[in-house]
Symmetry: C2
Subunit: 224 residues, 2 copies
DNA sequence: TTGACTAATTTAATCGTTTGATTAATTTCA
DNA sequence: TGAAATTAATCAAACGATTAAATTAGTCAA
């Protein structure tokens, strides 16, 4: 009824429509938010008829869920390889390797969040964070929690005695240093005097976070 | 016409209405966002007639601007005293005092952002940040820029040689560590296993940020 | 290769509801 | 009494959702 039985015969045509709708949905939902984004605007941006939203995704919420899912998938394919590379290397007893892995993970997050071409879907994630719905849980369980847990384990290697306090809360503050680039984007750009984030600015941000990590995990030689 | 000439005679009645509308506007705008918040819902929450929004604030946008302004005023009265206390003390050549002042400023921000009773208006600010309108400039120029500039000056005292790099970008990452409490609230609460932010959690967050600052500005190269 | 047949997909038009805005009448109070 | 403030009722516009008709494309008998 509402969900037609898939037929391999005419799949390509339908898939192209669904792709166009999801791509437009990410852009418009990210720019305007769920409520402010109209199904008519999304359909126009996708270049398809408005009624196709109901046909392919049941309703507006269904299209939104599909857009979130597509972002989660993309984040997974971009971030998970980094996880696996880290897990492959045995960093359990190598602080230097752990620090390097931590920098790599945060550097990847910077690349994902700071780039201007990612503004739309990054903002969609940020919005979803603020009023977490069912879609949020999917991203949290699939991406956020694994990433945070991995980072907490790396922190544990760097600070096995726990002198720095709860690793989890520490990881949150690390993520915050990256998240601020998107969340307080307008404030940051004004304050540091940038008008866009290019490769140069991207590298400056990575260096900034890297230095913060170096200081945070430096061995303070309280020589008597 | 649209803006009635103020008449001292019946001021109190009108002021009570305006206050109720602004209070409700902060709550509903913060909870639902500008578009999703309906003027009927705001009027009902305020316990007044919907048409009074036009009468007192011209239109929905006017009420939104007034709500932003009220938040800016409140932030000013809570934050500016701390600025003045810092400016009163001469910290230009006292790293210890600068570090203490920095902790105090970030601690005040934590108190403003992390408390659950501030969720509504804090979220309103976060939303405004993501799609900065004219109202954003008011808050940026009035609160954000002065705060960030003061913090950058404190950082300069702690790192006069500039070994840590651009103070402004460093300040942004410091603010990010606080902002994350509100922006990634749902993620943080789940990850650290909290269900609410009470006094205990608030103190834990302050301690976390304090330790981060200690490490960041610790003297590593100094011999005894 | 045709050309009717069928299901999947797309389209234009319209439904009822909600929205912000507005009006005219009413109430309040010095 | 009169200006200010409030109220109930209504407006046009935009919204998500829905319908029925039109179009597309693969299937298969001839």
């Amino acid at each position: 009824m509402t969900t037609p039985i898939p037929n391999p015969a005419q799949r390509p045509r339908a898939d192209a429509t669904k792709d166009a709708l999801i791509r437009a949905a990410v852009a418009v939902f990210g720019r305007d938010g769920f409520q402010a984004a109209s199904t008519r605007a999304i359909a126009q941006e996708a270049g398809v008829n408005q009624a196709l939203i109901k046909y392919h995704f049941a309703n507006k919420q269904g299209l939104y869920d599909a857009a979130i899912q597509s972002i989660a998938d993309r984040m997974g394919t971009e971030v998970l390889p980094i996880f696996h590379a880290i897990e492959a290397n045995r960093v359990e007893d190598d602080p230097a390797a752990s620090l390097f892995a931590l920098k790599r993970m945060l550097g990847a997050m910077i690349g994902l969040l700071a780039r201007e071409d990612a503004a739309n879907w990054a903002q969609l994630i940020v919005r979803e964070q603020q009023s977490p719905g069912p879609a949020f849980l999917k991203i949290y369980d699939g991406i956020m929690a694994p990433a945070l847990t991995t980072m907490a384990r790396l922190v544990n290697v760097l600070d096995p005695a726990g002198r720095l306090g709860d690793p989890k809360l520490l990881v949150i503050t690390l993520v915050g240093q990256v998240l601020v680039l998107r969340v307080a984007h307008a404030t940051m750009m004004r304050f540091v005097g940038w008008d866009r984030i290019g490769d140069k600015e991207l590298e400056e941000i990575r260096a900034r976070i890297g230095r913060n990590l170096d200081r945070l995990f430096a061995e303070t030689e309280h020589a008597p």
